[in-house]
């Protein structure tokens, strides 16, 4: 039974670590793409005589992506920090994991979820908004590329197409990532609901 709990804890921490690393990468990519495109179109806007709507839309998308990316990055780093702490603790006590150690780990995980419940829900929404922005950005860039061919050498166009596919991939991934967070959140929500009964029983015991 103890091994079963340890396995569950290890699995959950492992999944959460992998998920936060993926999110960290996507957050960083969102910032990079957002900032890069905003700066590129701000420069374009500065140099052009007439103000056109296209660069303004790109700048808005870029700023939106940058802000979401930053939030994403910070939230993922926060989760990664927690999972790393737990992993280190588990590693230290690998040989002699007593009942107290396991209960301590469970308490730690519950306390973490209780504190970050809101943040995890926000990450689900943010990831979807990020996905929408990435897809709109891809679509808008593709239309722009088709309507205004740059006349650059062929390899440069290939690079642009690769960039579009990368953004499309990230955009689609942004809709899949929340699924894992939703699964994680639903399991933990049921546990949190159960803790209310646990608290009641502990209160009864302590007052008896």
């Amino acid at each position: 039974m103890t091994n079963n709990i340890i396995k569950k804890i290890n699995d959950e921490i492992g999944s959460l670590t992998a998920l936060s690393i993926v999110n960290l990468i996507f957050g960083a990519l969102a910032i990079a793409i957002g900032v890069c495109n905003s700066v590129k179109h701000i420069n374009f806007l500065k140099e052009s005589v007439q103000i056109s709507l296209t660069p303004v839309i790109f700048i808005c998308f870029g700023i939106g992506l940058g802000i979401i990316g930053l939030y994403w990055l910070i939230s993922s780093a926060n989760i990664l920090d927690f999972t790393t702490d737990i992993k280190l603790e588990r590693h230290k006590k690998k040989i002699s994991a007593t009942d107290e150690d396991i209960t301590g780990l469970i308490v730690q995980m519950i306390a973490f979820y209780r504190k970050n419940q809101k943040k995890i829900r926000q990450m689900i929404v943010m990831s979807m908004i990020g996905g929408c922005l990435f897809l709109c950005f891809t679509l808008f860039s593709a239309i722009n590329m088709l309507m205004k061919p740059s006349g650059d050498v062929v390899w440069s166009q290939y690079v642009q197409i690769i960039g579009l596919f990368l953004m499309l991939f990230i955009g689609i991934a942004c809709f899949f990532i929340p699924r894992f967070f939703k699964k994680y959140a639903s399991i933990w929500d049921s546990r949190m609901k159960e803790t209310e009964n646990v608290e009641q029983r502990l209160m009864d015991q302590i007052r008896s």
Binding site: T103, I106, V107, Q108, A111, F112, K115, L202
Partner: protein, 90 residues
């Protein structure tokens, strides 16, 4: 410990930490509590006789008593059950 804990989780942490004699300062440091809250919890646990206090001059040390065993085992049993009954992530 990071995160938001309930009072029962804090009681458990204090009682486990005090299985060997501990000073007030070490308890509040280990359990990440401020002195006011820490004193309230320690007073409650002492009053419940879950903790015994030894006073040497102006310093007090706390030790978990036998009376706390029932609470500790129930706590451990209930919290482990939370993980046993729920489905896993994978």
């Amino acid at each position: 410990m990071k995160g938001r804990r309930t009072q029962y989780e804090i009681y458990w942490e204090i009682l486990i930490f005090c299985k060997t004699k501990k000073s007030f300062t070490s308890i509040i440091q280990h359990c990440n509590l401020n002195s006011k809250i820490g004193k309230e919890h320690l007073d409650f646990l002492t009053q419940k006789k879950y903790l015994s206090v030894e006073r040497h001059k102006d310093r007090s040390s706390f030790l978990t008593s036998e009376n706390a065993q029932e609470f500790l085992s129930l706590f451990s049993q209930l919290y482990r059950k939370l993980f046993e009954t729920s489905p896993g992530i994978k």
